[in-house]
Symmetry: C2
Subunit: 401 residues, 2 copies
């Protein structure tokens, strides 16, 4: 058994935390499928229930390789798939048999779809009192905008997240990954594990209502508190941190680097490394508060020196004295980092259609869980129907016996 | 008892999921304090152990109001504080007495600090086998970069997240909130609740090792899978989604809006609303894949029409037919939204120094938990020493008796 954390203590039970948990995933595209992907990483069994013929919409998202969507693969590894039409009696029976044995149901339909299907919270809870039901939507199950559809960019735009991202007075910038969905998915996974813990105590499941907009608001750092207290509207600052300086990108002779001199002693060190010790004792730049105030001036002074040498020269010199810094890497550079390889953060997936492809590894490394060195492929639509039906059949026979 | 989810079923036990859990928080600034803030939202008791005199570094982050940092307030509500010097015998005794009664310890020091203090995982686990120990760092406890310091912008830059954010060939852009820290904090909270669930089964705690870099990699959406399979390096796309079009910002007569026409029928609807039905049948734009390929041309065609009217006119027309769209809101506009108010996403904090201030609400809304309408203030440094010491004293006397 491989263990990446050397420890004198041996933890005997190396099963994943959610080993005995079964999740039914009605999710499409990203927020709910990401939530269940995280639950699968924690050891849950995830069964995707997809609509016949088309399945999860993201199966159509490019690029495709040998007919299989790389986008779909990236969030659906290690899941099973069965295609069911929840408007047809026979398929509803199968769906309900799945719920008989499930711990968790997750979906990201518009808020009223489940009620219309006869699977609203009241119906679910009456029949399956232990079931934990997680619903992700753009605006949640309450409030005037509840019925409105939403997507990632809407959550980023409405929340103010986009207003903080980009250059002052520049054109708007969307965060390059769909954090509107991803953050909501992660909060849902957290809600589900918390609800599982509470269920151990009470025996009862619950509804978890997560809105993409709410989750973006929870991710605005100090912006809400600062604005409500001071009435100063925070604005986009390019690469600059709102409360720490210098903590931003600088252009070197060949490319940009970032430097995070998070406190006065790191700033003094930085001034030494760039042979401008005078800046550290300049009354304009003496404290973090002053550096924030005089940042345009400080930026100019630092850039004048930094632009004279290549990025890697500066990175070497700054790293040597312990100043956090780095180049701004492409995905290709990141994937090749020995650190990323050592952490097993790019793990192989052996997929019948794609051959060996790769997805991000698990960022939660636990001493009590044997880390996985690969992930199972994302399922083809309806791929696991025979085994799933067989299993339901066997359970039925067993209960009759 | 207020309940925001109308339900015929009544859940009797309305205690928060982590009601009986005590967390010791050695965190500074953001990642670990955010993790424990989320755990506090889920009902855990959180005791901040801070270094004497200075405390959590973010107490010094501006802006300040009546001497209290708004930044610090935004991530430390509902916690208690005691100042301890972990290098002094007497204070170590208090710290260890706290651990006697704790379920979880979270910190974000550099990876070797806890070992140096004599509180490495092996020591902790030997003495407190049920303790769950969560450590957040820039690079984690393994790999060649493990000892190096890091900050949010380093994680954003190294992971490739910044390479996906901003305008093509434009200057770099940092995501406006510190998602390097926040995502790591949220993954840690998830690791902790999962480990609590596993402990119910096994009786044993574990080490949870979370790296900011790893968490950013897990948040790159399809970029890792797409790059490793196709070797095409993904680049920043302004406001455009990498796999869906049109799904981006457009300039209207007065300001920018975002439109997310996530599928062919929404695109056809959009073309109708802007009186350009010809675009929907134009073979260049017939499918999502074609629209992605011809996006510069499509962008031009759509902008020519959209720029002729004001943002709110378009929002009204688009919303009426169900096309997800919105203005790009400032924090001030977001805070005033009736939806945000209805969801209680801006909650009051009654703080002795700040008066009534506000922080984001809980994005995990559970039918089984009575929602809170306010939060307790962030503690002053060492504020809760008397009660905490008194409590430890009482426990000691009780054990002797």
């Amino acid at each position: 058994m491989r263990r990446i954390y050397p420890s004198r203590m041996s933890i005997v039970d190396q099963s994943p935390p959610l080993a005995a948990i079964t999740v039914i995933d009605l999710g499409r595209v990203l927020s709910a499928p990401f939530a269940t992907s995280v639950l699968a990483s924690l050891g849950a069994r995830v069964i995707k229930v997809e609509r016949p013929e088309i399945g999860d919409d993201s199966r159509a998202f490019g690029p495709h390789l040998n007919g299989k969507s790389l986008y779909f693969t990236s969030v659906n590894c290690d899941k099973e798939s069965i295609a069911l039409d929840l408007k047809i009696a026979q398929d509803r029976k199968i769906f309900e048999a799945l719920l008989d044995d499930a711990d968790v149901l997750v979906e990201n339909f518009s808020p009223h779809v489940m009620e219309q299907l006869g699977y609203g919270w009241d119906q679910l809870h009456a029949r399956w009192p232990r079931l934990i039901y997680g619903a992700i939507s753009g605006f949640g199950k309450t409030g005037p905008l509840s019925p409105q559809p939403s997507y990632d960019i809407i959550a980023q735009a409405l929340s103010g997240m986009m207003s903080l991202t980009g250059h002052p007075n520049g054109p708007p910038v969307r965060v390059g990954a769909s954090i509107g969905d991803l953050v909501a998915g992660l909060y849902m996974a957290l809600g589900v594990t918390s609800a599982i813990h509470k269920r151990t105590r009470t025996g009862e499941g619950c509804l978890i209502d997560v809105a993409m907009l709410d989750c973006q608001i929870a991710f605005l750092e100090a912006a809400v508190t600062t604005f409500t207290a001071t009435k100063v509207v925070p604005a986009a600052r390019g690469t600059r941190h709102p409360s720490i300086a210098p903590f931003q990108a600088f252009l070197c002779a060949d490319r940009w680097i970032v430097i995070a001199a998070g406190n006065d002693s790191l700033f003094a060190l930085l001034c030494q490394v760039i042979s401008r010790p005078d800046l550290a004792t300049n009354p304009h730049f003496l404290t973090n508060a002053k550096r924030i105030e005089m940042l345009d001036e400080l930026d100019r002074e630092l850039t004048l020196v930094l632009v004279t040498r290549r990025a890697h020269e500066w990175i070497d010199r700054l790293t040597e004295v312990g100043i956090p810094c780095s180049t701004i890497q492409s995905i290709a550079e990141m994937v090749a980092m020995p650190q990323v390889v050592a952490r097993e953060m790019i793990v192989p997936v052996n997929d019948p259609a794609l051959g060996t492809t790769h997805v991000p590894g698990d960022p939660i490394k636990m001493s009590s869980v044997t880390p996985r060195t690969s992930r199972g492929p994302a399922p083809d639509l309806d791929q696991n129907r025979p085994e799933i039906l067989d299993e339901l059949q066997k359970r039925k026979s067993k209960m009759k016996a």
